[in-house]
């Protein structure tokens, strides 16, 4: 059992989400930075998709009621006894994470996994549709599974350095709603992450992208990573809790969603055409 002392700005339980139900209107949800979740789970010997805690700008404080083996990954927060490696904590230990200097989301995996009841096969909090457990609050007691399938890893991966390269995108499916000049504008503009970025979407500020044609786009499917351009011309990069359909044209799709997870309000973002 883990007691939540303070959740920070937003702490949720996340696994790899609810794939396969988009046609029912159920978003995929799940960890925003999936590589960080997988790494944390592997370090403590869990399945890749075990449920862990996803923090937003640090600030999480938890007390381990029982001794536990844990791992922290994602945005490096001060105050942790180790990063990117398995750590043993004794019963009664309190872990307090400060705010990361780079990146936004961090993951706390516990050997055995967070054992809240799954909803539609997942323990992820879907902040848009309200499926899964509520966001963590001070005083919550969070159960931990009693066993894990793998061995605890001895690896010391550490923290990943900040990645400031432009985000790779593939144009489409609706790049033909924009002129060649507007598509260049997407690539040459230094966009700024707006303060209202969340698990549904990372909203960007900059000189607006002008659409080449008017009219409405009948609702069409949306996936995490889609760069949607609403009527005001300011793009939104959809996150894991994005709605399954949308009515604005998607000019491009970001290929590495894990990097989007780590974008902070105010941070500068550029795009580049690419693959992988």
């Amino acid at each position: 059992m883990i007691e939540v002392v303070a959740p920070g700005p937003l702490a949720t339980v996340q696994d790899l989400g609810r794939p396969g139900r988009l046609a029912l209107g159920v978003p995929r949800s799940g960890a925003f930075d999936r590589a960080a979740l997988r790494l944390a789970n592997r370090l403590v010997g869990n399945d890749d998709g075990a449920a862990a805690v996803e923090t937003t700008l640090g600030g999480l404080a938890v007390r381990f009621v029982d001794a536990a083996t844990i791992a922290l990954t994602g945005a490096l927060c001060p105050g942790a006894p180790g990063w990117g490696t398995a750590i043993t904590v004794g019963a009664g230990t309190t872990l307090r994470l400060g705010a990361p200097r780079h990146g936004l989301r961090s993951y706390l995996a516990v050997r055995g996994g967070i054992a809240l009841d799954p909803v539609l096969g997942s323990r992820s909090t879907d902040t848009l549709s309200g499926l899964g457990p509520a966001a963590l609050r001070a005083g919550d007691m969070v159960p931990v599974g009693s066993s894990a399938p793998g061995e605890v890893s001895g690896a010391h991966v550490g923290a990943a350095p900040p990645d400031r390269r432009p985000l790779a995108i593939r144009f489409g499916p609706r790049e033909d709603w924009f002129s060649a000049a507007a598509r260049r504008h997407l690539l040459t503009t230094v966009w700024a992450v707006r303060s209202d970025c969340d698990r549904v979407g990372v909203r960007l500020d900059g000189p607006p992208l002008v659409r080449d044609r008017g009219g409405e786009l009948p609702s069409e499917p949306v996936l995490p990573g889609a760069v949607q351009v609403p009527a005001d011309g300011r793009p939104i990069v959809f996150g894991p809790d994005a709605p399954v359909t949308g009515g604005y044209p998607v000019i491009a799709v970001v290929l590495d969603l894990d990097r989007v997870a780590q974008l902070r309000p105010g941070e500068a973002v550029r795009f580049r055409p690419g693959s992988g």
Binding site: G20, A23, G25, R170, G172, P218, L223, T245, V254
Partner: protein
């Protein structure tokens, strides 16, 4: 049919005839290289399985031959509706039909679920009489009760759970549109045929 790139792990299919969307979705779902399909108003998204090569799957998708005839794959659902919605009178007046006529038109048509979206289990039903096509409310409500039956544009639908919403509310049903203990939890899934019956 256009096959449009959607990143590197999905393709968006845009058939020439929107009436073939559900048939196309069913055909794409049969492919072993496709993990999941999502129909929408005029398009179908095909999400690839992890090991699939995008260009190979695009060729497979291009070779599909959907038909406009509705496949008898979905079930049939009749929903009993209390036509006492908050927007019933105003909408009838705006559309220039009487309330009784609005209820008659809404409850005598045959509908089919075109796609789900907006919220888990929220089904967009096609088949609404053209005389009932009305724009969404100018300002959405912050709270629409579960079971509310509404119309917007060419669609009608039922709010599966309490949520915000901008559709014009004609009435309500007691049917459980969304039940996590049911598989699937959504009562109305793409292809389901639906009728409304005044309660």
């Amino acid at each position: 049919m256009r096959v449009l790139r959607y990143g590197e792990r999905a393709w968006l299919l845009e058939p020439d005839d929107p009436a073939t969307v559900l048939s196309l979705a069913a055909a794409a779902a049969e492919l072993g290289s496709v993990a999941e399909v999502v129909p929408a108003a005029r398009t179908v998204l095909a999400v690839l399985v992890d090991e699939a090569r995008p260009d190979t799957v695009a060729a497979e998708l291009r070779s599909l031959t959907p038909t406009a005839s509705a496949r008898r794959s979905g079930g049939d659902v009749v929903l009993d509706v209390h036509y006492d919605g908050a927007d019933l009178t105003d909408t009838a007046a705006e559309l220039g039909v009487g309330v009784d006529e609005l209820v008659r038109l809404h409850s005598t048509a045959d509908y089919v679920v075109a796609f789900c979206g907006f919220a888990p289990g929220f089904a967009y039903l096609r088949g609404l009489d053209e005389r009932l096509h009305a724009p969404r409310l100018p300002s959405p409500r912050t709270r629409v009760p579960a079971g509310s039956v509404g119309i917007a544009g060419e669609f009608t639908g039922v709010y599966p759970r309490e949520s915000p919403g901008g559709w014009r509310l004609l009435g309500r049903t007691d049917a459980a549109l969304w039940d996590l203990d049911r598989t699937p939890p959504a009562l109305l899934t793409p292809g389901t045929r639906v009728r409304f019956r005044p309660a």
